[in-house]
Symmetry: C2
């Protein structure tokens, strides 16, 4: 059956890639019911179901769980975009319902690292009733999304469903997207839309890089000045309700929200509202140099502040993990610690002499103690250089962002995991590899279009043993506010992180399914960019206009 | 006064660029009333007007001209985005109206190459009545847009207008944007939104690259099969009403629509509906090679077809100019003419022997005769290689797209104009120079961010005499369907083509105004990308969402 599947993929690919090569992509979208990201096992059977969206029902075997009940409501539209009940002329449908059967009880809290996203889905039954089976609600959410991909439109306002059996699970437990809301403030509606797109790509971690040097949109209740003075403007702040809304919206979609408060560097915007929190910076002649952008750990008041601040933040963000940054501190350590006479005097008192490296170690030691004291058991993520700098490492997770070619990336991953760390890989998946044209994955080295390495990069592609490789997770990084650029590039990463690597080696083979999925997202109402050049969707995005 | 203006610009720039450099762009948007593109003469006076958008009126001195009347309606919203009459708490306004005085009568037809876009605008009068003075309605449209840029919001729902005198005109008579609707079909609403953005950037030529090898969305009435079989699908065709709507929408905004029907190459999609129009292609061994993509001019039936087809097309598009393509034919000339036995036999009969260059010359001679016979006086534009290939040149305009560095571009321009041609420059302004980050213009060679050459490139930057330089026009080329990527990059080109070059040398100086203008467009409802990294607007774009 796998051979059959592979042949189908190959044949589809053969037709479409040729059509594409010669300039006319066939409208394969909405005519195949292909699933993105590719399930670990999917078997298609001959014959399709008809379905009448007015009569069809997704049904929880045990109703009353908000996560499932609301998903059922959402997918009434998501599964059948463009449906018009008034003009519907199809039949009653041979598929009438899908029963959703979840083994464990409805979670009241947010999803956690060990969430079980596996599921099975069967729409093969002759009685017109399909079945979703999952251990946890999170698997059921993924199953419903998969079901919605089996739907296709043979013509306008007519819906069919592929007859198929699916058994599926996540390859990596951490499939994230980092969004920076500091350099450019991103209003809540856009963040929520991004969560919708993440869920529809089966991604499960929203890494919220919420503050940085430039601005402080995070709403602190205990320290209102840090927000009032650190945000770009009163319009460029989140409210506590906004943060709660994001966390809840994410929870309903099986997505964890992991906040990042980058310290001790990148803290310029923290300093506007908290006196003496960041230290003044000087060049080697004692003249003012760069803007203050690093915490001053030599003042006890600052350590007290951190305890108060993170006591609040770790309540606001219930996820077990939090990201504490730690990148790019070297220049600041020289100018704002070493060259600052007051800081240097206090360094002597602390017994670190003039060694800023020792002060950095002192900082992390104190900082992690503080974190443990305000919420014991917090899992701590830091950017990789914190570990490169040999600061205290026990149980911290390294976020790897270095390496600009595949072999450099693989060598970074090898080293980090060799040292015994869990690691989140992002090096391959920075949005700044964006290129003109189709850049989500390249066909081969000889191909005249360099289509980028988003799809090509495999987090376990480095040489190393299974223990090392098991320690890897993955995350896409968007440091702009251009969420419309992010998709469908991040979709390529979503498949890399979800699917069986043996079945997803080639961007060529992925292309027709990704094209179809992109068209599906467009018809659902998301302005997602094209993946090919040229191509077309059965239903194109258009703008509204006023005749004047 | 010019010194004063320059100082103001310099001071504004000094403050903002520093703020930006250190990571916190101040919200200069909506607090300065800066104009984009920069007028040739603008004098600001101390003190601002207040304005009550409910009471304020733009008034035509002679009402009844649809172009002005509809503009007045549009700018009720465009000039005061976000206005809420119900919650307005401002005063009656010290500026109560602007009288629009146009010297010549209302044109019933479309704008033409020699349209006069000059105007003056004064909002200095003590009696609260401003004045727009223009020779033609087109100048009045530009004046109204300029007025709308003098409006700013000191706080929410409060509007003020800078006190200023403006005298302005276009630097180049042709300020175009090319959009390709073949490789990716672009629905009408998106084309119309693009026309709105063009008008708000004072651009005046929509170069509609409507068909190409991939697809034929142009609606021919006389040859319905060419559309039915050449378009991607019935959903990927324009109707005649669509084309009329685009032309009329453009006319109301002072924009010409210049269609391009690229021949004799790039015609693959023409061939699906017209038997024998494009010839079969073979390699040197006589085996089928590339897909047919070049017209066969050796058949009289094809020349007859061209006469019928362009007889219709030149009625559909009333502009005096039409673009006939002519690029990238060499491979097709070999494979589909020289290597095609039937074509080669007919070449003998035509007396061009085996010389495909001569056949190309024959084609253009016949083709231009046909164009003259169906609409005498048509101005013919071709891509530069048609002239490079020494085909008949009289009165044709060269569209220059070669050259990938500034010096290469300038050398192309020098050669083309030296040969006595009018020329449209596009080499600098291809969207495929898109980069990560701010890429619309670079500060200087030493700057670590390469911000691209969109702003830097000056169409008259090449060495040459005034006659040569006077023959140049400019056009931005978007060969994707990503109109949201186009802006505000095309805005950089808009200023280059409209404004006094002496006042617009530096992307640094342009930056604060372009930032403000981009924020204005966002608040007007256009999803236009950021120009800086980091930055923010007083009113950010957000997506709508449903709580579920």
């Amino acid at each position: 059956m796998q051979i059959f599947l592979l042949c189908t993929i190959f044949f589809t690919f053969f037709i479409t890639i040729n059509a594409w090569y010669y300039g006319r992509a066939e409208p394969n979208a909405w005519t195949t019911g292909g699933v993105w990201p590719l399930p670990w096992q999917i078997t298609y059977f001959p014959g399709n179901h008809t379905v009448n969206p007015s009569l069809f029902r997704l049904q929880a075997k045990t109703p009353g769980c908000d996560i499932i009940d609301k998903a059922i409501q959402r997918y009434r539209t998501l599964a059948f975009p463009g449906f018009n009940a008034a003009t519907y002329q199809g039949d009653q449908g041979t598929l009438t319902s899908i029963i959703i059967n979840v083994a464990s009880s409805c979670p009241t809290g947010v999803p956690t690292f060990d969430m079980d996203e596996s599921y099975s889905l069967s729409v093969t039954s002759a009685n017109g009733i399909g079945i979703i089976q999952a251990n946890q609600v999170w698997g059921a959410l993924r199953a419903i999304e998969t079901f919605s991909h089996l739907v296709f439109l043979p013509k306008d306002n007519v819906y069919m469903v592929r007859t198929a059996n699916v058994t599926d699970k996540a390859r990596f437990p951490w499939r994230g997207i980092m969004v920076d809301t500091s350099r450019h403030f991103i209003p809540v509606g856009t963040l929520l839309q991004n969560l919708d797109l993440m869920a529809q790509n089966k991604m499960n971690v929203f890494h919220w890089h919420i503050v940085d040097s430039e601005a402080f949109p995070y709403p602190s209740i205990r320290y209102p000045d840090i927000t009032a003075k650190g945000a770009y403007s009163p319009k460029h702040q989140y409210t506590v309700d906004d943060v709660k809304k994001v966390i809840d919206y994410a929870r309903l979609r099986g997505i964890r929200v992991v906040a990042e408060f980058d310290t001790p560097g990148h803290t310029g915007s923290w300093g506007y509202g908290v006196p003496n929190l960041v230290s003044q910076c000087y060049d080697s002649n004692g003249k003012p140099s760069i803007l203050p952008n690093i915490l001053d750990p030599t003042l006890q008041a600052n350590l007290d502040f951190l305890k108060g601040f993170f006591g609040e933040a770790l309540q606001m963000f219930p996820d077990e993990y939090m990201h504490f940054g730690g990148d790019e501190v070297l220049e600041d350590m020289t100018d704002c610690w070493y060259n600052n006479p007051q800081v240097r005097a206090r360094m002597q008192q602390l017994g670190v002499g003039s060694d800023t490296g020792k002060l950095l170690n002192y900082y992390w030691q104190k900082f992690f103690d503080i974190i443990d004291s305000v919420r014991n058991g917090t899992k701590k993520i830091v950017w990789q250089e914190v570990l490169d700098q040999n600061v205290p490492q026990e149980n911290t997770i390294a976020h790897v962002w270095k390496g600009s070619t595949l072999s450099e990336v693989y060598s970074e991953m090898y080293n980090v995991t060799k040292a015994g760390h869990y690691a989140i890989l992002s090096s391959c998946w920075y949005l700044n590899y964006i290129k003109y044209g189709a850049d989500w994955g390249y066909v081969n080295e000889e191909n005249m279009r360099d289509r980028g390495m988003y799809y090509q990069c495999d987090p376990q592609g480095f040489p190393g043993d299974q223990t090392q490789k098991a320690a890897i997770w993955g995350e896409f990084v968007d440091a702009t506010n251009l969420i419309d650029r992010l998709w469908p590039r991040a979709s390529a990463v979503a498949e890399r992180l979800w699917s069986d690597p043996a079945l997803t080696q080639s961007a060529d083979a992925a292309w027709p399914r990704l094209h179809e999925f992109r068209c599906r997202l467009v018809y659902r109402g998301f302005r997602v960019q094209t993946i090919n050049d040229p191509d077309y969707c059965p239903y194109e995005w258009d703008e509204k206009y006023q005749e004047l």
